[in-house]
Protein backbone atom coordinates (compact mmCIF):
# COMPACT_ATOMS: atom_id res chain seq x y z
CA UNK A 1 0.00 0.00 0.00
CA UNK A 2 1.30 3.44 -0.93
CA UNK A 3 1.75 5.33 2.33
CA UNK A 4 3.50 8.38 1.00
CA UNK A 5 2.82 11.66 2.75
CA UNK A 6 0.50 12.78 -0.04
CA UNK A 7 -1.47 9.53 0.07
CA UNK A 8 -1.83 9.77 3.83
CA UNK A 9 -3.03 13.37 3.49
CA UNK A 10 -5.82 12.24 1.16
CA UNK A 11 -6.88 9.67 3.76
CA UNK A 12 -6.62 12.23 6.57
CA UNK A 13 -8.82 14.56 4.53
CA UNK A 14 -11.50 11.88 4.76
CA UNK A 15 -11.18 11.75 8.54
CA UNK A 16 -8.81 8.78 8.82
CA UNK A 17 -7.28 9.15 12.30
CA UNK A 18 -4.98 6.16 11.87
CA UNK A 19 -3.41 7.84 8.85
CA UNK A 20 -3.00 11.03 10.91
CA UNK A 21 -1.24 9.14 13.70
CA UNK A 22 1.09 7.49 11.19
CA UNK A 23 1.93 10.84 9.57
CA UNK A 24 2.47 12.43 12.99
CA UNK A 25 4.86 9.67 14.08
CA UNK A 26 6.79 10.13 10.87
CA UNK A 27 7.27 13.92 11.14
CA UNK A 28 6.92 14.93 14.79
CA UNK A 29 10.57 14.57 15.69
CA UNK A 30 11.80 16.80 12.88
CA UNK A 31 8.98 19.29 13.58
CA UNK A 32 9.95 19.52 17.25
CA UNK A 33 13.62 19.92 16.33
CA UNK A 34 12.89 22.62 13.74
CA UNK A 35 10.66 24.52 16.17
CA UNK A 36 13.26 24.21 18.94
CA UNK A 37 15.96 25.66 16.73
CA UNK A 38 13.77 28.61 15.69
CA UNK A 39 12.14 29.40 19.04
CA UNK A 40 15.21 28.49 21.11
CA UNK A 41 12.92 26.95 23.70
CA UNK A 42 11.90 23.30 24.17
CA UNK A 43 8.51 24.07 25.74
CA UNK A 44 7.56 26.48 22.95
CA UNK A 45 8.79 23.95 20.41
CA UNK A 46 6.41 21.28 21.74
CA UNK A 47 3.48 23.69 21.72
CA UNK A 48 4.29 24.72 18.16
CA UNK A 49 4.60 21.09 17.07
CA UNK A 50 1.22 20.26 18.59
CA UNK A 51 -0.44 23.27 16.92
CA UNK A 52 1.18 22.42 13.60
CA UNK A 53 -0.07 18.83 13.60
CA UNK A 54 -3.56 19.95 14.61
CA UNK A 55 -3.55 22.35 11.66
CA UNK A 56 -2.54 19.48 9.41
CA UNK A 57 -5.57 17.55 10.67
CA UNK A 58 -8.10 20.40 10.40
CA UNK A 59 -6.94 21.63 6.97
CA UNK A 60 -6.40 18.20 5.40
CA UNK A 61 -9.75 18.24 3.50
CA UNK A 62 -8.64 21.43 1.71
CA UNK A 63 -5.04 20.45 1.14
CA UNK A 64 -3.96 20.13 -2.48
CA UNK A 65 -0.57 18.75 -3.55
CA UNK A 66 0.61 22.00 -5.15
CA UNK A 67 3.79 21.67 -3.09
CA UNK A 68 5.20 18.70 -1.20
CA UNK A 69 3.68 17.93 2.17
CA UNK A 70 7.04 18.49 3.87
CA UNK A 71 7.29 22.01 2.43
CA UNK A 72 3.74 22.80 3.52
CA UNK A 73 4.36 21.47 7.02
CA UNK A 74 7.63 23.41 7.28
CA UNK A 75 5.83 26.60 6.29
CA UNK A 76 3.21 26.01 9.01
CA UNK A 77 5.88 25.40 11.66
CA UNK A 78 7.94 28.46 10.72
CA UNK A 79 4.87 30.73 10.69
CA UNK A 80 3.75 29.42 14.08
CA UNK A 81 7.23 30.00 15.52
CA UNK A 82 7.40 33.56 14.19
CA UNK A 83 3.84 34.31 15.38
CA UNK A 84 4.67 32.94 18.82
CA UNK A 85 7.61 35.26 19.12
CA UNK A 86 5.50 38.26 18.06
CA UNK A 87 2.59 37.49 20.37
CA UNK A 88 4.56 36.49 23.45
CA UNK A 89 2.55 37.68 26.48
CA UNK A 90 2.99 37.25 30.22
CA UNK A 91 0.43 34.78 31.55
CA UNK A 92 -0.39 34.01 35.21
CA UNK A 93 1.37 30.94 36.53
CA UNK A 94 -1.90 28.97 36.66
CA UNK A 95 -2.17 29.14 32.87
CA UNK A 96 1.22 27.52 32.39
CA UNK A 97 -0.09 23.95 32.54
CA UNK A 98 2.35 21.08 32.78
CA UNK A 99 5.89 22.36 32.42
CA UNK A 100 8.18 20.78 29.85
CA UNK A 101 10.75 18.44 31.30
CA UNK A 102 13.86 20.62 31.33
CA UNK A 103 16.14 17.89 32.64
CA UNK A 104 16.93 16.38 29.21
CA UNK A 105 17.78 19.84 27.87
CA UNK A 106 20.09 20.45 30.81
CA UNK A 107 21.76 17.08 30.32
CA UNK A 108 21.92 17.72 26.58
CA UNK A 109 23.71 21.01 27.12
CA UNK A 110 26.20 19.42 29.51
CA UNK A 111 27.03 16.81 26.90
CA UNK A 112 27.66 19.33 24.13
CA UNK A 113 31.06 20.68 23.44
CA UNK A 114 31.89 24.22 24.44
CA UNK A 115 31.90 25.29 20.80
CA UNK A 116 28.50 23.81 20.17
CA UNK A 117 27.13 25.74 23.13
CA UNK A 118 28.55 28.96 21.78
CA UNK A 119 27.04 28.26 18.36
CA UNK A 120 23.66 27.53 19.91
CA UNK A 121 23.80 30.71 21.98
CA UNK A 122 24.84 32.77 18.97
CA UNK A 123 21.99 31.37 16.87
CA UNK A 124 19.51 31.97 19.69
CA UNK A 125 20.63 35.61 19.75
CA UNK A 126 19.69 36.23 16.12
CA UNK A 127 16.48 38.06 15.19
CA UNK A 128 13.66 35.59 14.44
CA UNK A 129 13.65 35.82 10.66
CA UNK A 130 17.43 35.61 10.43
CA UNK A 131 17.36 32.60 12.72
CA UNK A 132 14.60 30.99 10.67
CA UNK A 133 16.59 31.55 7.46
CA UNK A 134 19.72 30.00 9.01
CA UNK A 135 17.82 26.99 10.36
CA UNK A 136 15.98 26.35 7.10
CA UNK A 137 19.19 26.64 5.08
CA UNK A 138 21.59 24.66 7.28
CA UNK A 139 19.33 22.26 9.11
CA UNK A 140 16.66 21.56 6.50
CA UNK A 141 19.07 21.95 3.58
CA UNK A 142 16.64 24.08 1.58
CA UNK A 143 17.60 26.31 -1.31
CA UNK A 144 17.19 30.08 -1.13
CA UNK A 145 14.11 29.83 -3.35
CA UNK A 146 12.51 27.26 -1.06
CA UNK A 147 13.33 29.32 2.02
CA UNK A 148 11.80 32.38 0.33
CA UNK A 149 8.65 30.40 -0.43
CA UNK A 150 8.32 29.28 3.19
CA UNK A 151 9.03 32.72 4.66
CA UNK A 152 6.76 34.40 2.13
CA UNK A 153 9.48 36.71 0.85
CA UNK A 154 11.77 37.08 -2.15
CA UNK A 155 15.00 35.25 -2.86
CA UNK A 156 16.96 38.50 -2.55
CA UNK A 157 15.40 39.15 0.87
CA UNK A 158 16.43 35.67 2.00
CA UNK A 159 19.95 36.24 0.75
CA UNK A 160 20.07 39.48 2.72
CA UNK A 161 18.80 37.69 5.84
CA UNK A 162 21.51 35.04 5.48
CA UNK A 163 24.28 37.58 4.89
CA UNK A 164 23.30 39.57 7.96
CA UNK A 165 22.85 36.48 10.09
CA UNK A 166 26.25 35.13 9.11
CA UNK A 167 27.90 38.47 9.78
CA UNK A 168 26.49 38.48 13.32
CA UNK A 169 27.43 34.85 13.88
CA UNK A 170 30.92 35.41 12.54
CA UNK A 171 31.42 38.34 14.91
CA UNK A 172 30.28 36.30 17.91
CA UNK A 173 31.97 33.04 16.98
CA UNK A 174 35.33 34.24 15.64
CA UNK A 175 37.38 32.82 18.54
CA UNK A 176 35.59 29.48 18.11
CA UNK A 177 36.21 29.46 14.34
CA UNK A 178 39.93 29.93 14.91
CA UNK A 179 39.95 27.12 17.43
CA UNK A 180 38.38 24.73 14.90
Amino acid sequence: MDDSDETLMVRIGRGDEAAFRLLSRRHLRSVVALARHITGNAADAEDVAQDAMLRVWTHAPRWQPLASFKTWLTRIVVNLCLDRKRRRVILPIEAAGDPADEAPDARERMERSEIDRHVAAAIDGLPERQRAAIVLTYREGLSNAEVADILGSSVSAVETLLVRAKQRLRTQLRPDEEAD
Binding site: G13, R14, G15, E17, F20, R21, S24, R25, L28, R29, V31, V32, A33, R36, H37, A42, A45, E46, A49, Q50, M53, L54, W57, T58, H59, A60, P61, R62, A100, D101, P104, D105, R107, E108, R112, I115, D116, V119, A120, I123, I134, V135, Y138, R139, K166, Q167, L169, R170, L173, D176, E177, D180
Partner: protein
Protein backbone atom coordinates in the same frame (compact mmCIF):
# COMPACT_ATOMS: atom_id res chain seq x y z
CA UNK B 1 32.38 44.35 6.20
CA UNK B 2 33.42 41.80 3.63
CA UNK B 3 33.93 38.21 4.64
CA UNK B 4 36.91 36.07 3.78
CA UNK B 5 36.01 32.91 1.84
CA UNK B 6 37.82 30.83 4.47
CA UNK B 7 35.69 32.41 7.19
CA UNK B 8 32.57 31.57 5.17
CA UNK B 9 33.63 27.96 4.78
CA UNK B 10 34.49 27.63 8.44
CA UNK B 11 31.18 29.13 9.49
CA UNK B 12 29.27 26.92 7.06
CA UNK B 13 31.05 23.84 8.41
CA UNK B 14 30.39 24.88 12.00
CA UNK B 15 26.70 25.48 11.36
CA UNK B 16 26.32 22.21 9.44
CA UNK B 17 27.97 20.27 12.29
CA UNK B 18 25.83 22.03 14.86
CA UNK B 19 22.52 21.20 13.16
CA UNK B 20 23.57 17.65 12.29
CA UNK B 21 24.06 16.77 15.95
CA UNK B 22 21.02 14.79 17.16
CA UNK B 23 19.25 15.95 20.29
CA UNK B 24 17.72 13.32 22.55
CA UNK B 25 15.33 15.96 23.85
CA UNK B 26 13.68 16.09 20.42
CA UNK B 27 12.70 12.41 20.62
CA UNK B 28 11.25 12.88 24.07
CA UNK B 29 9.49 16.08 23.02
CA UNK B 30 7.98 14.28 20.04
CA UNK B 31 6.72 11.50 22.31
CA UNK B 32 5.11 14.03 24.64
CA UNK B 33 3.42 15.83 21.76
CA UNK B 34 2.18 12.53 20.30
CA UNK B 35 0.72 11.71 23.70
CA UNK B 36 -1.06 15.05 23.83
CA UNK B 37 -2.51 14.54 20.34
CA UNK B 38 -4.00 11.17 21.30
CA UNK B 39 -5.14 12.23 24.79
CA UNK B 40 -8.20 14.12 23.56
CA UNK B 41 -10.52 13.96 20.54
CA UNK B 42 -9.28 15.65 17.41
CA UNK B 43 -11.08 18.85 16.40
CA UNK B 44 -13.55 19.02 13.52
CA UNK B 45 -11.95 19.21 10.12
CA UNK B 46 -12.53 22.21 7.87
CA UNK B 47 -15.31 21.84 5.33
CA UNK B 48 -16.91 18.79 6.93
CA UNK B 49 -20.07 20.46 8.25
CA UNK B 50 -22.07 19.07 5.32
CA UNK B 51 -22.94 15.42 5.86
CA UNK B 52 -21.82 13.00 3.24
CA UNK B 53 -18.97 13.36 0.81
CA UNK B 54 -21.28 14.12 -2.11
CA UNK B 55 -22.32 17.35 -0.43
CA UNK B 56 -18.75 18.64 -0.63
CA UNK B 57 -19.20 19.58 -4.26
CA UNK B 58 -20.18 23.21 -3.40
CA UNK B 59 -16.60 23.75 -2.27
CA UNK B 60 -15.52 22.97 -5.82
CA UNK B 61 -17.70 25.82 -7.08
CA UNK B 62 -16.18 28.09 -4.45
CA UNK B 63 -12.68 27.19 -5.53
CA UNK B 64 -11.17 30.32 -7.01
CA UNK B 65 -8.15 28.54 -8.38
CA UNK B 66 -8.21 29.92 -11.92
CA UNK B 67 -5.28 27.92 -13.21
CA UNK B 68 -6.21 26.02 -16.41
CA UNK B 69 -7.55 22.56 -15.74
CA UNK B 70 -8.45 20.56 -18.83
CA UNK B 71 -11.34 18.62 -17.27
CA UNK B 72 -12.89 21.88 -16.16
CA UNK B 73 -12.35 23.52 -19.54
CA UNK B 74 -13.77 20.49 -21.32
CA UNK B 75 -16.86 20.48 -19.10
CA UNK B 76 -17.37 24.19 -19.71
CA UNK B 77 -16.97 23.81 -23.47
CA UNK B 78 -19.38 20.87 -23.51
CA UNK B 79 -21.98 22.89 -21.61
CA UNK B 80 -21.55 25.78 -24.02
CA UNK B 81 -21.97 23.57 -27.09
CA UNK B 82 -24.95 21.80 -25.54
CA UNK B 83 -26.59 25.07 -24.73
CA UNK B 84 -26.00 26.34 -28.24
CA UNK B 85 -27.51 23.22 -29.80
CA UNK B 86 -30.53 23.22 -27.50
CA UNK B 87 -31.05 26.89 -28.10
CA UNK B 88 -31.13 26.41 -31.84
CA UNK B 89 -33.12 23.18 -31.90
CA UNK B 90 -35.50 23.86 -29.06
CA UNK B 91 -36.27 21.42 -26.27
CA UNK B 92 -39.85 20.82 -27.43
CA UNK B 93 -38.91 19.46 -30.88
CA UNK B 94 -37.69 16.06 -31.93
CA UNK B 95 -34.31 15.83 -33.54
CA UNK B 96 -35.37 14.11 -36.74
CA UNK B 97 -35.77 14.92 -40.39
CA UNK B 98 -39.30 16.30 -39.94
CA UNK B 99 -38.26 18.94 -37.52
CA UNK B 100 -34.81 19.63 -38.94
CA UNK B 101 -36.07 22.29 -41.34
CA UNK B 102 -36.74 25.62 -39.66
CA UNK B 103 -40.37 26.63 -39.32
CA UNK B 104 -41.71 29.43 -41.46
CA UNK B 105 -44.05 30.65 -38.76
CA UNK B 106 -43.32 34.27 -38.11
CA UNK B 107 -43.35 33.72 -34.36
CA UNK B 108 -40.43 31.31 -34.54
CA UNK B 109 -37.08 32.80 -33.77
CA UNK B 110 -35.27 30.68 -36.36
CA UNK B 111 -37.40 32.27 -39.08
CA UNK B 112 -35.78 35.53 -38.25
CA UNK B 113 -32.41 34.03 -39.01
CA UNK B 114 -33.11 31.51 -41.72
CA UNK B 115 -35.22 32.88 -44.55
CA UNK B 116 -36.43 29.66 -46.19
CA UNK B 117 -36.65 29.96 -49.92
CA UNK B 118 -40.07 28.78 -51.09
CA UNK B 119 -40.03 25.79 -53.43
Amino acid sequence: MTSHPTDDRRLDAMLTRHFAAPARSDDEGARRVAGRLTARPLPRQAGTWLPGTWLRWPTVLLNWDLSPAWPRVTALATCAVLGFVIGLAGLDTRIDDASAAPSVTSADLPSLIFDVEPL
